[in-house]
């Protein structure tokens, strides 16, 4: 099925809960209402014409500078039966983001959603095991957000070089640790 037909099938079943679509994009996607994702996912898997039995990737993206500022969760689906792909998008606000879980539909979503929680802070309601997966259990914050600032310390260790250390290195001294990574400015946040 081509993307138009898939979009039409979804629209026929779910009506206005399908908010929009971009079918000419590199990977065609449809945007859904956030609370509809679990049902849409179940329908995508169960419907014989769609038969999306595989969740290729579940990604979270942070758009702080769009209007309105939001985060998106993108589900890339694939069907082994019909060999077609499609993507679903869900938009959540940047404060207290919450999305229903699809781990009951595709087992792999368990780990993908844990990663999205870990790096972005998006809570997947109904998830059986919502805890950090890549970062240490006692890490605070969600680093892949665009407004992430590295903390000063983690468990007593310097995370970034201190200004004093940087001055000493810039004046030609070798500190015995390093070379330090001078992380460039975060381009996505314009300083007012």
């Amino acid at each position: 099925m081509d993307p138009r037909a898939i979009h039409a099938a979804l629209g026929a079943r779910f009506g206005e809960r399908i908010l929009g679509a971009a079918l000419d994009a590199g990977s065609p996607f449809a945007t859904l209402a956030t609370d509809a994702i679990a049902e849409v996912a179940a329908f995508c898997k169960a419907d014989p014409a769609l038969a999306f039995d595989n969740l290729m990737c579940l990604s979270a993206v942070d758009y702080p500078k769009e209007t309105p500022p939001r985060m998106e969760v993108v589900y890339h689906l694939f069907s082994y039966r019909h060999l077609h792909t499609f993507a679903l998008k869900v938009q959540v606000p940047r404060e207290n983001p919450a999305v229903p879980t699809v781990e009951g539909v595709w087992g792999v979503a368990n780990w993908h959603e844990r990663e999205a929680w870990d790096l972005f802070g998006i809570v997947f309601t109904g998830h059986s095991d919502m805890r950090r997966i890549l970062l240490p259990d006692d890490w605070e914050g969600h680093p892949l957000r665009k407004d992430w600032q590295d903390p000063e310390y983690y468990n007593g260790l310097h995370v970034k070089p201190t200004p004093q250390m940087m001055e000493r290195v810039l004046s030609g001294e070798t500190l015995g640790v390093g070379p330090f990574d001078f992380t460039p400015e975060n381009r996505h946040l314009e300083q007012p």
């Binding site: 990977s27 095991d129 919502m130």
Partner: protein, 390 residues
């Protein structure tokens, strides 16, 4: 735990919930057999595993965050380091993703070089996978024989681009170095030895060895539905009998014009989808890769040579948009979700690594096994922690 982790119900892993006969055994993160820094928390009743919980993240190097801070060609060295055992595949995937977004088409000569390098890398990667797997099961010698052949491949790579392990070879719009003179002859020599000595020896020595078969043919059986639901791809999926290969279904870089077969696990010695089948798919894929390389080498001699940097843009600035592109890496389908906002830096790069999803099925398969079989299972999924943790 982070301060705000709502709804976290950790199933009864606390000491109080433990039966007096059960033990929590920790394998790793430093362990000879777990292929990297992986921690497996096993709750066992004697030798039988009741629950298994993998802990990853020891090798998290913030690839996705770095990718947002460097330009597109600068992402490629970072991408190399994800699956460090098979880095040609990582850069090929990313380069193809960006090229697709920008609409760049490379010449057939370049496509042939890319296929050649990818398939050589596939053989090298499977050498490590099969070799270390047999070493985990206890046979030390096939590991050394396979690594001897991997050394020859790495010598070819070093000759071409100067690096043995992390090449930064596939660039957006081309490759970094053309194949040197004499490369085709050297590659053919290597393949001749591989096809007629190493590969048959491997089959005789270990693959059909009765002890090896008995260790792994009934273990870790993964049904096709579980495999698809947990997004097992590549040899892991084909071991369960699902004959899907991206190189055939959604070919890229000229793969549609090569003649090779999709290797599928057939359940020769036990149920289909066992550890033996996944391992067997890797072994058989080495032979198919050898076929592809022969064809690629023939083509390389006949095609007209083009400059490998001719389509490499001066500044890589894809138009605003997003794309998801996947390629068949030796460990499975490597997917890149690229969001571009028109700048020289990517806006978001999300990597779907095949080993990440393969580990997600681990605790389903590990229930009811013995501890020795856990090793067999981990090895048969062929994980590289660099890719899981990125």
């Amino acid at each position: 735990m982070s301060a705000a982790s709502p709804g976290a119900r950790i199933a009864d892993w606390d000491q109080d919930g433990l039966d007096t006969d059960e033990m929590i055994v920790n394998m790793g993160p430093q362990h000879p057999a777990t292929h990297g820094v992986l921690r497996l928390e096993l709750r066992t009743d004697g030798e039988i595993v009741r629950r298994a919980r993998p802990h990853i993240g020891y090798l998290h190097r913030c690839f996705e965050k770095h990718a947002e801070n460097v330009d597109y060609p600068g992402v490629l060295p970072y991408a190399d380091r994800m699956d460090y055992v098979a880095s040609m595949g990582n850069t090929l995937g990313f380069a193809l993703t960006v090229e697709k977004l920008m609409g760049i088409e490379v010449s057939p000569y370049l496509q042939t070089i890319r296929v050649l390098m990818a398939e050589l890398q596939r053989i090298a990667s499977h050498c490590v996978a099969v070799g270390t797997y047999t070493m985990d099961i206890g046979a030390f010698t096939p590991f050394l024989h396979l690594l001897r052949d991997r050394e020859k491949i790495l010598d070819l790579f070093e000759w071409t681009c100067g690096a043995r392990l992390l090449y930064n070879y596939n660039w957006v719009g081309g490759v970094s170095h053309d194949v040197p003179d004499g490369f085709v002859r050297a590659a053919r020599d290597f393949l001749r030895e591989f096809d007629s000595v190493t590969f048959p020896e491997l089959l005789d020595l270990i693959i059909h060895n009765r002890i090896f078969v008995k260790r792994i043919a009934d273990v870790g059986v993964c049904s096709p539905e579980l495999a698809i639901s947990h997004d097992l791809t590549g040899p892991n999926l084909r071991g369960s009998g699902v004959a899907r290969d991206l190189r055939k279904d959604f070919p890229y870089s000229g793969y549609e014009s090569y003649d090779f077969e999709v290797c599928v696990g057939k359940g020769q010695y036990g149920p289909k989808g066992s550890c033996f089948d996944r391992n067997w798919v890797r072994v058989a894929e080495m032979r198919e890769s050898s076929k592809i390389i022969h064809q690629a080498l023939d083509r390389l001699e006949k095609l007209e040579k083009t400059d490998v940097h001719e389509k490499v843009p001066k500044r890589v600035k894809p138009p605003k948009g997003e794309i998801y592109f996947r390629s068949e890496a030796p460990r499975g389908q490597l997917g890149y979700y690229l969001v571009s906002d028109g700048n020289v830096n990517p806006y978001r790069v999300k990597v779907k690594s095949p080993c990440f999803t393969a580990m997600s099925v681990f605790h389903h398969l590990a229930k009811g096994m013995m501890i020795a079989d856990v090793i067999a299972l981990v090895g048969s999924l062929d994980i590289v922690l660099g890719e899981i943790d990125r």
